[in-house]
Amino acid sequence: MNQEISSLMDGELDTHASARTIGDCCATPEGKHAWDTYHLIGDAMRGKDCRPFDVSARVMAALAQEPTVLAPRASSASRSRSSTFGRIALAAAASVATIGVVGWIGTQGMTGRAPEGMAKNEAGVTMQANVPTLQASTPVSQIRPAEPAYAAIEVNDYLAAHRQMPSPDQYRTVASRTLVPAR
């Protein structure tokens, strides 16, 4: 393994082997020590001061508390097939519990199937005035169990606000509630 660390630090490993070695190297104290020592040797050969200095343990301990900086990635296979916008896999910060909890967050009446993101009008709802409801103190959607009952995230609302396009979706109704004018 150390020979690979030696090649890695010279940039002489192919991408796949590099990735594997980075993982292996950092997984053990011996690996990290080899990485460190080999660099020290180069520094000494070039006449640099080799004063003892090691903050790596404290830096990495502090970073363990940091929320992980997630980088761009494609829709991964681990996310499930059908997706409407309502459905989100919530990946919480690394330092906090609930990781990878999958919840269905849908507007009332939605079947949760792609691609329509529009709610259907519930039968029997009277619309007194066609303005978006402003009064709903309870969340209008459900998250399936395995997730604490936090207020639901109405993704579609934010999406509509982000896209700034008017749509019937903004006129959805809440089941068995009559809309009141927003005055």
Partner: protein
Amino acid sequence: MMRVTQAWLPALAFGAAAGAQAAPQDDPLAWLQRAANASRTSAYSGTFVHTNGERTSTVRIAHAIIDGVEQERVEPLEGQPHEIVRRGDDMICYMPEQKTMRLDKRVSARFFPSIFRGPPEALAENYTLKLGNQERMLGLDCQWIRLDPKDALRYAQRLCVEVTTGLLLRARTLNERKQVIEQWTFTDLKMGSQVARSDVKPTLQSRVKSWTTDAQPRDEAKGVDTGWEVTNLPAGYRKIGEMRRTMPGRQMPVSQIVLSDGLATISVFVEPAGMPARPAEAASEEGTTSFFVRPAGDNVVTVLGEVPIAAAQQVGRSVSRRP
């Protein structure tokens, strides 16, 4: 190198310093400027398909300048029937099932083929611009333009513009592995004199005998000081809008700040936290859209954008009250 110059649209302003080096045909920035102009000034009518992650939607669009006024009709074909008809800055959204016409001012949001949210010159700071191949699409010659991000805060774009008018025919967003994660593409298209006046007129009006008009502003105040700011803007992003808007299910208006790098856009929402308050951050990506929620004292910050999650996180984590 000698080239035969073509007749370029006289309305083009290249904006380059005196003695611009590249011939227009070789300059990707010039192509982008043409594309930006074309969506505003050309006549076109057709259907495009938008795929994002695993979602698909189909939209009919028609656009023309008639008697000096820009007119447009947009009809998404999924979901409940509706169409948005625009004349200049005034938009009417016809929703026959709700029997409602919604009146609005023209939106500034990105909508294919008008995907630029700032002057194309600004893009060169954040993306490396290159010309790609030429290709034939829908019986038309088009030129690919490549925009590669200079950092991990935005996605790569591939734009294909028709060579005569500069109209964007296909736009793709790629992730860092160069996989296509979002695409808009025209599947049929008429241009120029083939576009009929009736293409930009409303068609759903006749479905409803008596329409209710909703003219209430959704954005309570635009250009307002919401009292919030993003202190650690990701490189290349500028604030392009700030407003308060009413949103369904909320008694108080929600503050919204919009950031853009000229192509990619991020919206930041700040509002009082619901009960029970979420204790932790949550992040998610779907196609190109990143979604990030973060509790902030008594408030909750929600970030949404066609950007890598890292950009959404950076924005969301640096939202604070303006001093």
